[in-house]
């Protein structure tokens, strides 16, 4: 085989390896979740379970605190969406529509906020939250998650608003709209699917975030924080069920918004 003919082969091999690296744990977790408990501990273990079993998942869901933590996670996720969209969408609109002094610096600064690991930020944040009474509250966790989500939200919403031609807005303005009316009647309806994608992305980020949630809560744990806490104390099947339960929403949402993620940088990656 010549080198040239070899190239696509190598490329596909690499893609297969990367794909497997991501998919294999997901598949294994899913299989383990629906494997009857006894079979899970048998050796040698069959790849496919002999029968489909929901016992483990049911056990996980009825475990003390899991439902409450799920509710907390939902609450924190919704609060995070509210905050991140309220701050991020206008910022995205501004970067998409206006040229202002320091625009490039602003865009860089957005990304720079991701330079600091949460681990470094979480401790001082916890101290500050204790002072102002936000510690161990859903709002406190949501604020931390908003900070984490904002850069991506701004990037996504910028690309969303760039996708709505400026002409449409100006046409609305010449037809008698104020700037705000033009935004509400024209830009918003057209941007809505993209904004929804940004909101879902925010939710997934919040749903999966462990570190800040663990440090900033004691009793009002979110689901990941609870699972991390319980992990050391629990049997194998519980861990698998927890992992599965946590990963599913993320997968579903990612699948729904993938169109917007590939448009992130204003170019289409297919």
């Amino acid at each position: 085989m010549t080198r040239k003919a070899l190239r696509p082969f190598v490329l596909y091999l690499l893609m297969a390896v990367i794909g497997a690296w991501v998919l294999a744990p997901l598949v294994l977790i899913t299989l383990a979740t629906f494997t009857p408990q006894l079979e899970l501990y048998r050796w040698p273990k069959a790849f496919l379970p002999s029968r489909f079993s929901g016992e483990t998942l049911a056990f996980f869901l009825t475990t003390e605190g899991v439902l409450r933590a799920t509710f907390m996670s939902l609450l924190v996720g919704i609060l995070t969406i509210g905050l991140a969209m309220a701050i991020g969408a206008p910022a995205g609109y501004a970067t998409a529509r206006f040229s202002f002094r320091g625009k490039d610096a602003f865009r860089l600064a957005i990304l720079l906020t991701r330079m600091f690991p949460v681990a470094i930020l979480a401790i001082p944040l916890a101290v500050s939250f204790i002072k102002v009474g936000l510690y161990d509250t859903p709002l406190g966790v949501a604020i931390a998650h908003t900070a984490l989500a904002l850069p991506i939200v701004i990037l996504i919403t910028t690309s969303v608003f760039l996708g709505v031609p400026k002409d449409l807005e100006e046409a609305a303005i010449t037809l008698g709209c104020t700037r705000l009316q033009a935004f509400l009647k024209i830009v918003l309806p057209l941007a809505l699917p993209g904004l929804a994608a940004a909101a879902m992305f925010t939710f997934v980020l919040s749903w999966n975030e462990v570190f800040a949630a663990t440090i900033l809560t004691v009793r009002n744990r979110t689901l990941p924080a609870l699972v991390v806490y319980l992990l050391g104390l629990s049997p194998l099947n519980f861990r698998f069920a927890g992992g599965f339960f946590m990963v599913v929403p993320a997968l579903v949402v990612m699948f729904m918004i993938r169109r917007y993620l590939t448009h992130l940088w204003g170019i289409t990656i297919r």
């Binding site: 449409l168 104020t178 009647k185």
Partner: protein, 368 residues
């Protein structure tokens, strides 16, 4: 209906001066075309009138009312965009009705007006369709209907035909002219297409580098260009420019060009008398040159380089003493490349330009 006045309007973007002190009055009901190459400031001028750009200096009056600081919605204008800017999430009816709804017209009035506008643009059948289901030409009609349904005092159009294919453009051009005759809004139309400008405009304002070089009727802009730029921008092929020198001999005046003495147009004799011995530029339209195959004393000898049949005419490129002239000849004229020809220029149709400034000399009556 309304007259538009621009008074010393200036607009800059950073260091770039897009519009340079433009002063212009557009008469009530007039169709004025802003014509110029890209980047000449014509669209910016239009957007200043619309209120989409805030002018740096100067004043804009519409119908005698100072609108310089008013938002677009309070200027009594409507605009057609180059991209049409038809709202993709509304059907044709809602698109056309949009402006009326914003201004809270009663529903019965809206229905009536939308119907009227749609009939006028021949899109009455398409009212329930969405823009994605329309062709480019149909979208364009929706955009125009959406503007005229407002019965604006001033209708602004930014290169509305440039995204259409050639045949459709020709058709829509005539449509727009008919439309203007019917609705009589004062219209400002931006284009870089000189044929469009000449065919549509009551007057054509030729712009260059943020300034209006000449604003006149299409006939005048074509036959009496104000300077070399206008002459070479308008007309296809553009005006020829021939270097010459003013000479006085035997009490008569000649322009010596390409080794031949041409009698200048009578009306320029007065001005040229002051310029004896000076170099001069002669602006000659390709259609004002006759092609002869026998030597003539009043004709420029030249050699045909290229012959291009363009249907009803032949376009010749002729080399004359180092200068290249474009000449149109009848389609049945038998000329071939390499052939020797004699070009006779109609002296009455020559424009005389100053080679230094590029500006046209204004003719003066003999003896004045």
């Amino acid at each position: 209906m309304a007259e538009i006045q621009l008074k010393n309007v200036r607009k800059t973007f950073g260091k770039v001066v897009a519009v340079h002190e433009i002063t212009l009055t557009i008469r009530d009901g007039e169709f004025l075309v802003l014509l110029g190459p890209s980047g000449c400031g014509k669209t910016t001028t239009l957007r200043c009138i619309a209120g989409l750009e805030v002018v740096d200096r100067g004043r804009i009056l519409i119908g005698g009312r100072d609108v310089t600081h008013l938002p677009p919605s309070r200027r009594g204008i409507a605009m057609v965009f180059q991209s049409y800017a038809v709202f993709p999430h509304m059907n044709v009816f809602e698109n056309i009705a949009f402006g009326l709804r914003v201004r809270k017209f009663p529903p019965s009035e809206i229905r009536k007006r939308v119907q009227e506008a749609a009939e006028l643009l021949q899109i009455g059948e398409l009212l329930q369709r969405y823009p994605a289901q329309l062709s480019g030409g149909q979208r364009q009609r929706v955009a125009v209907a959406r503007a005229i349904v407002m019965r604006p005092e001033v209708l602004l159009m930014d290169e509305p035909l440039s995204n259409l294919d050639a045949l459709l453009r020709l058709h829509m051009r005539a449509e727009l002219k008919r439309l203007h005759r019917e609705i009589r809004s004062t219209t400002v139309y931006v284009t870089h297409d000189q044929v469009e400008a000449l065919s549509l405009g009551d007057r054509v304002a030729v712009m260059r580098e943020g300034r209006i070089v000449q604003c006149d009727t299409p006939e005048k802009v074509y036959t009496e260009p104000q300077d070399v730029f206008v002459g070479s921008f308008i007309g296809s092929p553009p005006m020829n420019f021939l270097q010459g020198t003013v000479v006085a001999a035997d009490a008569s005046l000649f322009v010596e060009a390409a080794g031949v003495r041409l009698p200048p147009p009578e009306m320029f004799e007065g001005v040229l008398r002051d310029r004896v011995g000076d170099p001069i530029l002669l602006g000659i339209r390709p259609e004002n040159i006759e092609v002869h195959k026998e030597p003539r004393s009043d004709a420029l000898p030249g050699q045909v380089v290229v012959v291009e049949p363009i249907g009803f005419q032949k376009l010749l490129t002729v080399q004359v003493h180092g200068a290249t002239l474009k000449v149109t000849a009848e389609a049945d004229k038998a000329v071939s490349p390499g052939e020797q020809v004699w070009l006779r220029v109609d002296p009455r149709k020559i424009r005389v330009m100053d080679p230094q400034t590029g500006g046209a000399l204004s003719p003066r009556e003999k003896g004045l």
